[in-house]
């Protein structure tokens, strides 16, 4: 149904994309969609192939939950652009999400290590 569920084309899990967007906004401050996409691409050292369009439904979802807010402004090259920034709730959410991600990563790493050991 939603493109985030497909994993065969190097696309990204839904929760993961949310987390990446939140983290990007925290690190870089207010940013437009294009900027966020570039930043994620860079940070993943082009390992992730992000369908950049999928970013927008994710941003909408985050905005609907009150984790980011958006404002129209002018971009560096004098174009009208929509800037997204993190809200206080978004900051809290980032902390929880990050912690959960780390826990899960630890579990999976542990499991993989265990399997190898057997």
């Amino acid at each position: 149904m939603s493109p985030f569920h497909g994993q065969g084309h190097g696309e990204v899990l839904q929760g993961t994309l949310d987390l990446m967007v939140l983290k990007t906004l925290e690190a870089m401050g207010p940013l437009h969609g294009y900027g966020i996409a570039q930043r994620i691409q860079q940070a993943s050292k082009d390992l992730l192939k992000l369908n950049q369009g999928t970013l927008y439904p994710a941003l909408l979802r985050l905005e609907q939950r009150g984790w980011v807010r958006s404002k129209w402004g002018m971009s560096e090259n004098n174009r009208k652009a929509r800037y997204y920034s993190l809200t206080a709730a978004g900051r809290r959410q980032l902390v929880t999400e990050a912690a959960r991600w780390e826990r899960m990563a630890a579990v999976i790493t542990g499991m993989l290590a265990g399997t190898e050991g057997a």
Binding site: P3, Y34, L60, Q64, N77, R79, K80
Partner: protein, 882 residues
Amino acid sequence: MERLRVFFSRAWGFLHKRRLDEQLREELQAHLDALIEENIRSGMTAEEARAAALREFGGVEQTKEIYRRQRGLPFLDVALQDLRFALRGLVRRPGFAIASVLTLMLGIGATTAVFSVVDRILFRSLPYPHDDRLVSFGLLAPIERDEFTLGAGYIDFRKEPGPFEAITSMAPGTTDCDITEQDPVRLNCAQVEQTFLPTFGTEPLLGRNFTVEEDRKDALRAAILSYGLWKSRFGGNPDVLRKTISLDGKTAQIIGVLPARFEMPTLRAADILVPQALDETEQRQSAPGVVLRTFARMKPGVDVRQATAALQPWFELTVSGAPPEFRKEIHLSVRTLRERQTSDARLASWILLGSVFAVLLVACTNVANLLLARATVRERELAVRAALGASRARLARQSLTESLLLGLLGGVAGCGLAAILIRVFVSIAPEGIPRLQQAGLDLRVGVFTLVVALASALIFGVAPALYRPSAEIMMGKEQISARRGGSLRQILVVAEIAISIVLLASAGPLLRSLWKLQNAPTGMETENVLIEQISLGSHNYKEAAQQFAFFTDLEARLKRFPGITSVALSDSIPPAGQMRSTILAAVEVAGRSALAEGTGGPVGWRAVTPDYFSALAIPILEGRGFRQEDRLPTENPIILDETLARRIFPGKSAVGKQLRLFKTPDGPWRTVVGVAANVKNDGLQTDGDPEFYLPWKNDPLINLHAGYVIVRTRMNPASVASWMRSETGSLDATLPVNIETMSQRVGKLAERPRFNAMLLCLFAGIAVLLAAVGIYGVIGFLVVERTREIGVRLALGATPQSILKMVLSGVVLCTIGGAMLGLLGAWFCTRLLESLLFEARAHDPVVFALAIFALVAVALVAAWVPARRAMRVDPMMALRYE
């Protein structure tokens, strides 16, 4: 919290679609432009840059679609789209829309109106908290149909009320009481025990309940006003609690006002509650004591059966003191309050509700028919939509939306019709249908209507929703599917006919019963007789002598009027009088042993003046009537009715025999001077109890404070009535006067059956009408659909007559099928009617035959017009058609 936030955000998105779409387009465009610029900077040509950007971005339109679905309320979007489509469809075919909505209006309107009436009888809770725990309990005897308890027994029980949380008692009925100060007025007073209001869980609106002290004999009198009296007489002034009123000449302190919604458990109107002041010593001395109506609130978790069982020991104890002949005819009874209040109205209510639902079902069937017919017309359109990718669920949803829209429109129109019908019901309904005056459209009835409208929509919407165009239609083989839809519609017609027959077959016996009831002999001539009912107040007429003088004065005055042929007085009036009653065992015959083991059953009696028999034209079969000299205190004659004379003196003449009444060893022996023909005394349906007559005179035995003046006249009843009114007024201007003709009084007795029969007939009529419309529609449609086929048949040599036969034979088959089903249904349904019938059989073959005949006739007439059209099809036109 978060969900709510998302919902609001989506709702915002839903409402601002256009603006947000524009913003989204801009935002995505900016992103693409940025990607393209970047690509150009890295050395691509403009075209390459654009292609690469689109690749990197992923589908733009796809993104937009996902975004939109996420942003708004997609479910609502689709629903609105369906609704718009449905509305457009209705507007485009106004004939179809009007026919459907009118049909539904009839069905839903009638259902709503009947529901609002029977709801108060069957379902709605009584105006007391935890009303399901309230019961009426006590003894039932042959002469008393509602539970009662005798004073001494009640006092015993009160100490240990077993399964009950609270019990209370009141004097049976209400008594007339007069406010005797300025603006004197006659009111209804109810005497209740101090525990009365608490047992019913009712708090006075103002003031307080009676105290235990106020409920004692010789206490200062206290009174609680009804809400109505408080408003009308005291202007709703709260100061009323400091006032006193003078009730029957005695001062009473007003201590409280009842809430507006309070009603007496007996459903009688009561203006004032006064303490009953039941005195224990007095009751024990005069054991078994006075008759009381007793009510109780069961403990939580106790049901009526358990309560009855728990009361058994008390019951045994109570009747142990009674004479043995009574004991075996008295039962213990515990009934819920609802059952006591509505016992005889419940069956009729269920029947009316059932019949009106049947009408609704026929209405739904008709609308389903119309929708199916339209679906067939729209077959191509549906097929195209299916071919373009609309899923079957999507098409069904679209079709159901249309049905729901129709249902709601029908519901709104039905509410309007119901408001009118309720008014009609209330104005023509007889007295005694519990709580009819309160019937109306309120929130509860509104919700019911909504549910009925939606349920109807589902019922008539299911068949069209499941109707799926097949691939063949695309290729022009429409005949196949036309047949398919046709057979479904014929099944619906069969159902309509069956339901109509059930309704007709149920209305029939009720009508027959009504006819018999109205022509049932009453034993007297009711034409040209006027009845004046008089009740003298106990304040102005304290002594029996005063009361006696009033009535004899009035009699003498009325006799002077030239147009009056006879004037009589009596203490009660057939055929529905509250006559006085004793038992056969209390009658002694000189020189014979007891007449009956047990009570011998109740025997009614009334006191009458000599002209009574001539005024009502009751024949004296043997001996003579009363004479003027029988009114002297020294004379003790008695007249028996035919049944009683036969019962006491079988095979012999009663005249000249000596009787002593009421088990009074020192009472006088009375000589039977005559035997009168029987009259109906207990309504029209039963023969009633045997009775005897005593002369009306100033005797402690005879109630003189209230009575009836019976006048037979040759003149116009209206002018005689006004003469009677003025004569009564000249004796006592303050007396309320109530004059009716005897025919009116008798007519009232048939009002309830008439009301039931009328409504059922109305519903049956509507059902038949709808069925006729349905048949007409279906046959007409079939003919249009088969025009080409008919044309071919005609071209190949079929005669118009054979075409007519072909079309009509389909109708006949449907009708026969419907009639069989209907008969089966009627066989079961009419049995429920049995207890409402008077001298008419529920399974009446004549009625069944008439019902079937009527429907076959209606079906043929309805099919005739389209069938004639089929006959006149021009083969050339038909073959070129399409």
